[in-house]
């Protein structure tokens, strides 16, 4: 096809959030010609919405903190499903990644002695989150955006061209990855959102950094970009996804007014002293400490309140349990009739500290409630409820290089799986994208440097991708009205919210899969109006391909896992089952299913086994705690002489 703009790069990064930018910086610093493609403008990615902080065991506030403690907290938060090597690398490297940001100009909040301040968060033993008020994600993203500009300035000084080695293709969407005859990555196909024109990238390495899948759910804290593009692109290119049943519902999203339902209320509110209350003003979280966390959280309000000032001698408040626990607790309170007027519970910071202090520590939250809900959080309680926030599942990657099961395809950040197990701790996302963004950029750079011959794009694939992209403009068959993409999207969101949400049952998920089949069929008849220039209806029609595919992976995995753990709660299988701990569900694209086809291929889910934890890491845990999660046979090698 002649009317396709063509580019050649060493490394193509898809996504310009934290993971994508960090990967691109690394690849460029290793001397490779790097392109970043993103659906929005440069600097708008979802990372800007991260509020609370970036977890790193720097020990600035609590000297006893260390990578081992961070590692343990992460594994506990994920209920021991995490890829332990990723959790290890993450805990060890996060401090260096944070300090590095300072050398690029980041300005974190400070301790009295001038170091980076760290705050408390759910599931973290010590105050560990580097932060900037409640806009930490913006600081991270802006710092990396400005680092990219600095690298472009260096290239300009040397070559006269800002984009000689590093170029951002903003408002550009990739619709398909391209592989060579052997299945290795050869490039990617996409379109400029502004003009609708096609663009083809030849690149031997692609780093997926596309974030999450939240836009398949109605109530979500995620932005429109979160349509599971990386997840679906990876599957269609032949890569494996893992853990797709684990979706995090953040316990505190706004519940009113309806148009802002789902917008995030940072966990920092609770980290800094805010508490959850039912309609009668009772602090209900004390009733919800599960067995596996008994002895790690305060049992009385007095002790919980003392903990804020004396963490040596008191246990922390159960308001700061991991997110899955808090979300389920809120869900139960509302269901049993003890909720707030608009179907949430109350989050109270107003009675806990002076108004000025609240405004200083939580300026965005103050602003958000004032502007959008007419609520003054320094005087009134907030109403909050669970909102779809994060997907733990994602592309299966090598923990050290970020490479997927497809040669040349790398993934980092939210679209990669494994790091967070069944539930991510707050603050571990910003650190994840720094650590593994860098690792993926490095992995891609080393892969490309070692290549003898570059994989070649197959022109037939390019033609097929181009045809697929414009198919929604085809007029409907006679007598067929054609499907409206906005209607299909609204139906998908409502369905996923109702049937594959925070509490799941076999019957509901079976129904969800049936409804997905219907939506897949209807998407083949989608028709969009207008032309290709900045046409949001068309963009949505193409994004729906990815959303439907990823939704099937989530629903099928959730149906298969017959236990409750982290971000997967089964009403019909409410207990955590050690036999499920060592199993992993792998989602793959099925090419030749009659219900599938090229628009939305089917997804199959197969059972596999997790790699057992390295003995020295396993030895960091007490055998008594491990016994709550592991089968006795798995603990036979523990130094405390595991039960036979």
């Amino acid at each position: 096809m002649a009317d396709i703009e063509r580019h050649d790069y060493d490394v193509l990064v898809i996504g310009a959030g934290g993971a994508g930018l960090r990967a691109a910086i690394e690849a460029r610093e290793r001397g490779l010609r790097t392109a970043i493609v993103c659906k929005s403008l440069f600097g708008k990615a979802h990372t800007v919405m991260a509020e609370g902080g970036c977890a790193a065991a720097m020990g600035n506030v609590a000297a006893k903190d260390s990578w081992q403690v961070h590692f343990r907290d992460t594994m506990r938060g994920g209920k021991f499903l995490n890829n332990w090597r990723m959790a290890e690398v993450h805990a060890k490297e996060a401090p260096d990644r944070v300090w590095e940001l300072e050398t690029w100009g980041a300005l974190f909040d400070r301790t009295p002695d001038g170091r980076i301040s760290q705050r408390n968060f759910g599931g973290h033993t010590y105050p560990r989150l580097a932060h900037v008020g409640d806009r930490t994600g913006l600081e991270l993203l802006r710092t990396m955006q400005q680092r990219i500009v600095a690298l472009q300035q260096a290239d300009h000084a040397e070559t006269g061209d800002y984009e000689a080695r590093l170029r951002v293709f903003a408002e550009c969407t990739v619709t398909e990855l391209l592989t060579d005859d052997a299945g290795a990555i050869a490039g990617a196909f996409g379109y400029w959102r502004e003009s609708g024109r096609f663009v083809l990238f030849s690149a031997p390495a692609v780093v997926l950094a596309t974030g999450g899948i939240g836009k398949s759910f109605k109530v979500t804290s995620n932005s429109w970009e979160y349509t599971g593009d990386g997840h679906a692109l990876a599957m269609r290119a032949g890569a494996d996804l893992i853990d797709m049943e684990f979706v995090q519902f953040h316990p505190t999203g706004m519940v009113w007014p309806p148009s802002v339902k789902g917008i995030l209320v940072t966990e920092g509110v609770r980290g800094d002293g805010g508490v959850l209350k039912d309609a009668d003003g009772r602090r209900f979280m004390f009733d919800y400490v599960p067995d596996v966390f008994k002895g790690q959280y305060a049992q009385t309000e007095d002790e919980a309140d003392r903990w804020y000032t004396d963490q040596e001698n008191n246990l922390r408040t159960p308001d700061l349990l991991p997110r899955d626990e808090v979300a389920r607790a809120i869900n139960t309170e509302v269901k049993e009739g003890r909720g707030s007027p608009h179907g949430g519970v109350f989050l109270d910071i107003a009675s806990r500290m002076p108004a000025e202090e609240i405004k200083r520590r939580l300026p965005s939250m103050y602003h958000q409630f004032k502007e959008l809900a007419d609520v003054d959080i320094t005087a009134e309680q907030m109403e909050v409820g669970p909102t779809c926030h994060y997907v733990m599942g994602g592309v299966a990657v090598d923990p050290d290089t970020g490479q997927s099961t497809v040669t040349g395809l790398f993934a980092a950040g939210e679209c990669a799986g494994g790091m967070h197990g069944s539930n991510r701790l707050g603050g571990n996302s910003l650190s994840d994208l720094l650590v593994f963004g860098r690792r993926a950029g490095l992995g891609a750079a080393e892969y490309v440097t070692g290549l003898v011959e570059r994989p070649a794009i197959r022109e037939a694939d390019v033609d097929a991708a181009a045809r697929m992209a414009v198919a929604p403009f085809d007029p409907p068959a006679p007598g067929d009205a054609g499907e409206n993409p906005y209607t299909l999207h609204a139906e998908l969101q409502q369905m996923m919210n109702d049937l594959v949400g925070i509490i799941r049952t076999e019957a509901e998920m079976a129904e969800a899969l049936e409804r997905l089949q219907g939506l897949r069929a209807r998407l083949r008849h989608v028709v969009v109006e207008g032309h290709r220039q900045y046409n949001p209806g068309w963009h949505l029609a193409l994004d729906l391909r990815n959303m439907l595919m990823v939704s099937e992976a989530v629903a099928t995995s959730a149906l298969t896992r017959t236990e409750s753990r982290g971000g997967h709660t089964r009403d019909d299988h409410p207990v955590l089952d050690p036999e499920w701990r060592h199993r992993v569900l792998v989602s793959r694209c099925v090419r030749d299913d009659p219900d599938g086809g090229p628009v939305v291929p089917r997804v199959s889910v197969v059972l596999s086994e997790r790699v057992p934890m390295r003995p020295d890491l396993l030895a960091l845990f007490d055998i008594e705690e491990l016994g709550k999660y592991y089968t006795p046979a798995e603990l036979a090698g523990h130094p405390q002489g595991g039960a036979a």
Binding site: L41, T103, G114, V149, A150, N535, W538
Partner: protein, 250 residues
């Protein structure tokens, strides 16, 4: 509570366009962006609107609502009377791409012209020590979500295409102030602020501060202090004398 509201939305592209009238349902608690989304879903599926987070954090959905530069996601419908016509037009200072979407590449070009953070050579990562009091000043400017409303409203470039070359605009003059006030930055951008980025064109009418959705005091805290630094350097008689003498000796 809901009602049917009247909206006038600019439709068109670089070739031209016009305001078009729509009647759309409005529900309790909604913002202008909700209404445009409803328009897309029910009447105008190809209406071009740039947006992203819908939470006032990304700065994508900038437009002019009844002539005032605002974020569409943070403009509540409750500020209008139910019988009031709400007019939504694209930002005027930047070229229109389509409907409410403008070409904001001017801003990205200006961003590249400001010399980046320059770290102290003698400090390793992890050795940075700064007092909260000292970082607070630059932190205020780093709240910027780059919605470009200040750039859009600034009369130096609004309707004055000819000034765009010589003028970085409030957002990037503020970026210079941010770096100059960074406790550990070692570069000097004061002369360039005046000579290359057009600080002198700003005559502190505070329009930028008025439209900033983050409430950053751009004029008072960034632009005026930068002007003072330039004045101290250029026009302080003692500094002038000292510089003249040292130049003669050299």
């Amino acid at each position: 509570m809901s009602y049917e509201g009247t909206f006038r939305v600019w439709r068109g592209d670089a070739e031209g366009g016009d305001l078009e009238d729509y009647r759309v349902e409005v529900h309790d608690g909604e913002v202008v962006l909700d209404i445009l989304h409803r328009l897309q879903a029910t009447q105008t599926p190809d209406l071009a609107v740039r947006w992203n987070c819908k939470a006032g954090k990304c700065g994508s959905c900038s437009a002019e609502i009844n002539g005032k530069p605002r974020l569409m996601c943070m403009t509540r419908m409750s500020v209008f009377e139910p019988d009031e016509v709400v007019t939504v037009t694209p930002m005027r200072t930047f070229p229109v791409i389509r409907d409410l979407v403008t070409d904001v590449s001017f801003n990205y070009a200006k961003a590249r012209e400001v010399p980046s953070f320059t770290p102290p050579p003698d400090l390793a990562p992890g050795e940075y020590r700064m007092a909260q009091e000292d970082v607070s000043r630059s932190q205020e400017f780093r709240k910027c979500i780059e919605c470009f409303l200040c750039q859009n409203t600034c009369h130096v470039v609004r309707d004055h295409e000819e000034n765009k070359q010589a003028y970085a605009g409030p957002r990037y003059l503020m970026r210079i102030a941010e770096l100059e006030m960074h406790p550990l930055d070692v570069a000097d951008r004061v002369p360039a602020a005046q000579d290359e980025h057009g600080l002198g064109l700003c005559n502190i009418t505070k329009c930028c501060t008025d439209v900033c959705p983050e409430g950053i005091k751009i004029t008072d805290n960034a632009l005026i202090p930068m002007k003072e630094r330039v004045a101290d350097r250029r026009y302080d008689p003692l500094v002038w004398l000292g510089r003249t003498i040292s130049r003669r000796r050299a």
